[in-house]
Amino acid sequence: MNKRSLLAGPYIVWIIGFTVLPLLMIIFYALGDGRGEMTMSNILAIFEPVHLKALLLALWLAILCTGICLVLAYPLALILRKLNIGKQGMMAIIVILPMWVNFILRIMAWQLLLSRNGLINGALGAIGLPGQDLANSSMAIVIGMVYDYLPFMILPVYNAVTDLKDDVIEAARDLGAPPKAVLTRIMIPLTKPGIISGITMVFVPSLTAFAIPDILGGGKVMLIGNIIEQEFSTSMNWHLGSGLSIALMIFVLISMIFTSNEEEGKERRAW
């Protein structure tokens, strides 16, 4: 080990202490039954109906959230590409500005907006419309997740879209492609690495989310993240919590392999 690699020391200590060791502990707990016997039942508990239902709901909401983020981010990136704002400034506005406010606080703001006596129902009441049950629903969770994770979609997509060369788009037009064909045959395929990065960066955290569902679901909507969290904090069943975590992790890894296969042979990005 040379002197330069010693500089990585603090980080290695950090990653071992706070990622590798906890992970090993989770595996240890997941495979134990509390009486010193090895068991797979904690991991296989994911197939119990109540857990499976929570996983599928989480999967559905994550897909919805990722889809909405992509549909919002791509046209925005196309518009931003036309405006001549410096790339640096754009990054600051999209990423750094929202981070000035803690994400839990921002979600709590949504709670206030969506609640029974909240701002939105107040506005609806003022124009004579009946109040809606907005809070404590799957929809509220999706709104919150889209709001929080949108920057992680915009950033890689915007990056990929601004890298599109004008002359390549002109070449496609020149060869007879109307604007729609330019989008589907040239722009989207060329920005695919950015789109896949964005999907990964939004899909994984929204699949495993528990704080946002907790606050905006009001305990009424149970996602797999909430069940795991409760096993650790309320039920104090660390074995089951760890087993479900491992099962979720395996699920995420499988979807990652799926996306990285998509990326095969394509230029890899930092994002």
Binding site: V168, A171, R173, L175, G176, R185
Partner: protein
């Protein structure tokens, strides 16, 4: 010129208040190889992009086969472009790049297959179908770009400095290649370049432009031998441009010395610009030429030597296959037919002619 396929009528364009094109009109014939030649910023690329449909003129019309296509988007024009930066689609194979336009036109796969084969043969890249464009050299990429454009059977092919990024040897090969391709296809080429040698080599007709105005239109031989003004003379090859006076027809006084020439029709004692090409400067024994001078520098250029000669208070540029070393006394002689006389610019429009880049 045969029947015109493309008429540019009074095109004008300004960007940010700066006039890029000023009332430009050109007729381009069928099967013609026309080159727009000029320094950067002269408006040649803007003109090409108007023909391609990428820029709308502020004023004027683009007529293609008798129809006004000024407002037609690029994908609706039977015109294709070869771009300076090749602009290949990096996410497609060579074959898919070439097939792009044909697939949009919903041609049969057998037709597309034949076309790809034919186009690759034409640009000398047979067997490259499955290669990835980014794995090819610049010259090969440009050939693919040409193949991709010509499979659509455009009636006019626009070429925007397509050889600019290639090295000299490759550029010369590609020049011959392009002429071959043009002759085989029998379509109109509109070529943009700032390289005067390229323009002289390839074109049927050259349009010399500067600051949004046409300076001269003519065959390469006309443009080189009979430049209409000092800008053209200076831009096309090297030349000695000197002030002169025409005391009478067939005689011009340069630096106070009478030179017989073949030009007539100028006003009595009219001030003129005189152009003498360096290769037309002939050296004789001192005293036997029109004026004597002394060689001040010599450079070996391969085909010839380039000498500077101080004579009559002017520094002359001369090319010769024989070396005359600095300090040598020479007599300068110029044949009358090698002296080119031009009117001095008079109007404001002509004034730009003298502003060099």
């Amino acid at each position: 010129m045969e029947q015109a396929i493309l008429n540019l009528e009074h095109l004008s364009k300004s960007f940010d208040g700066k006039k890029i094109l000023d009332d430009l009109s050109i007729d381009i014939g069928k099967n013609e190889f026309v080159t727009l030649l000029g320094p950067s910023g002269c408006g040649k690329t803007t003109t090409l992009r108007m023909i391609g449909g990428f820029i709308m003129p502020d004023e004027g019309r683009v007529i293609f086969e008798g129809k006004d296509i000024t407002a037609l988007p690029p994908d609706k024009r039977h015109i294709n472009t070869v771009f300076q930066k090749y602009s290949l689609f990096s996410h497609m194979s060579v074959a898919d790049n070439i097939a792009f336009g044909l697939k949009l036109k919903k041609k049969s796969s057998a037709y597309i297959h034949d076309k790809i084969k034919y186009a690759l043969k034409l640009v000398d890249l047979e067997g490259y179908e499955d290669r990835h464009p980014m794995s090819l050299s610049g010259g090969q990429q440009q050939r693919i770009a040409i193949a991709r454009a010509i499979v659509n059977e455009p009636k006019v092919l626009l070429l925007d400095e397509p050889l600019g990024a290639l090295d000299l040897k490759l550029r010369q090969d590609m020049q011959k290649e392009l002429i071959k391709i043009k002759n085989e296809l029998g379509i109109t080429f509109v070529f943009v370049t700032h390289d005067q040698e390229e323009a002289l080599t390839m074109s049927d007709r050259i349009i010399v432009m500067n600051q949004g105005l046409i300076q001269q239109i003519g065959t390469p031989v006309d443009i080189y031998n009979e430049p209409e003004n000092a800008f053209v003379a200076d831009f096309i090859g090297e030349s000695n441009i000197i002030d002169g006076v025409m005391p009478k027809d067939f005689l011009v006084e340069i630096l106070g010395i009478p030179f017989p020439c073949v030009d007539s029709g100028f006003g009595r004692n009219e001030l003129v610009d005189v152009v003498i090409r360096p290769e037309d400067m002939e050296f004789q024994k001192p005293g036997s030429g029109m004026l004597d001078g002394r060689v001040t520098s010599i450079l070996f250029k391969g085909v010839h030597y380039e000498m500077k000669v101080q004579a009559g208070g002017f520094e002359w540029l001369a090319h010769s296959t024989e070396a005359y070393h600095p300090g040598t006394e020479v007599g300068i002689y110029v044949k009358p037919e090698n002296i080119q006389i031009m009117h001095k610019p008079t109007s404001a429009a002509q004034e730009v002619i003298n502003t060099n880049e």
